[in-house]
């Protein structure tokens, strides 16, 4: 398994500002993923972050709005830029230890973001 921590655990922000969420893993992992879970909805994949390459964004998500860094095999950040109330959500980091669709994903505790 993998132990994942996220910072901050929650935040309340003003519209127009940006927030950077950190994801730290206790061991080196190949795949890191960022999800958004809006109130009452399921998890939506924002992007896949692999070390040493650009993040791959899903339809509806763009790098200017959600820039991601992956400087090494144990750490990643997601920035939510120019926030609006519609960005209020739980943001989750997850990791996969192996490459392959049969791999289990391990999830962080999430960051609960409220935008006023």
């Amino acid at each position: 398994s993998a132990v994942i921590s996220q910072k901050p655990s929650r935040d309340i922000c003003q519209r127009g500002t940006s927030l950077t969420i950190q994801c730290q893993v206790d061991s080196q992992v190949t795949m890191m993923f960022w999800y958004r879970q809006q109130p009452g909805q399921s998890l939506t994949l924002i992007a896949t972050a692999n070390q040493g390459s650009e993040a791959t964004y899903e339809s509806g998500f763009v790098i200017d709005k959600f820039p991601i860094s992956r400087p090494n095999l144990t750490f990643s950040t997601l920035t939510v830029s120019n926030m609006s109330p519609e960005d209020s959500s739980i943001y989750l980091c997850s990791v996969g230890r192996l490459a392959g669709v049969q791999d289990t994903q391990y999830f962080g505790p999430g960051t609960r973001l409220t935008v006023l």
């Binding site: 490459a99 049969q102 999830f107």
Partner: protein, 111 residues
């Protein structure tokens, strides 16, 4: 497109009763299916995956390719099974592995 459907938002059962959480998927390739669970105030975690053919906490799930289903079952519900359950599909897209989640079913076990 890949899709996972969980038709029930809430399922309430009495303790000791059988449980079946429904999951249907659409995917043209060979599916990799998972059930994830989120207990109150805990993080999302894997419950089981079809490739392992395992039983975890008394839960089982069988992949039925004909019906494109992966229903989660338990013969006798326990109070500690109350949680949010997500069915998920792993697949490749554009050379990248991804997972798509269903909308989740909240299981409420009544004492």
């Amino acid at each position: 497109a890949q899709r996972v459907t969980q038709p029930e938002k809430l399922l309430s059962v009495f303790k000791g009763a059988p449980v079946e959480l429904k999951c249907n998927y659409s995917y043209s390739g060979s599916p990799e299916l998972f059930w994830y669970v989120q207990y109150s105030r805990q993080r999302l975690q894997l419950l089981l995956r079809h490739i392992s053919r395992e039983s975890i906490k008394g839960f089982t799930a069988d992949l039925n390719k004909g019906e494109t289903s992966f229903h989660l079952k338990k013969p006798f519900a326990q109070e500690e099974d109350s949680a949010m359950y997500y069915c998920a599909l792993g697949f490749y897209s554009g050379g990248y592995q991804k997972v798509t989640f269903g909308t989740g079913t909240k299981l409420q076990v009544i004492p």
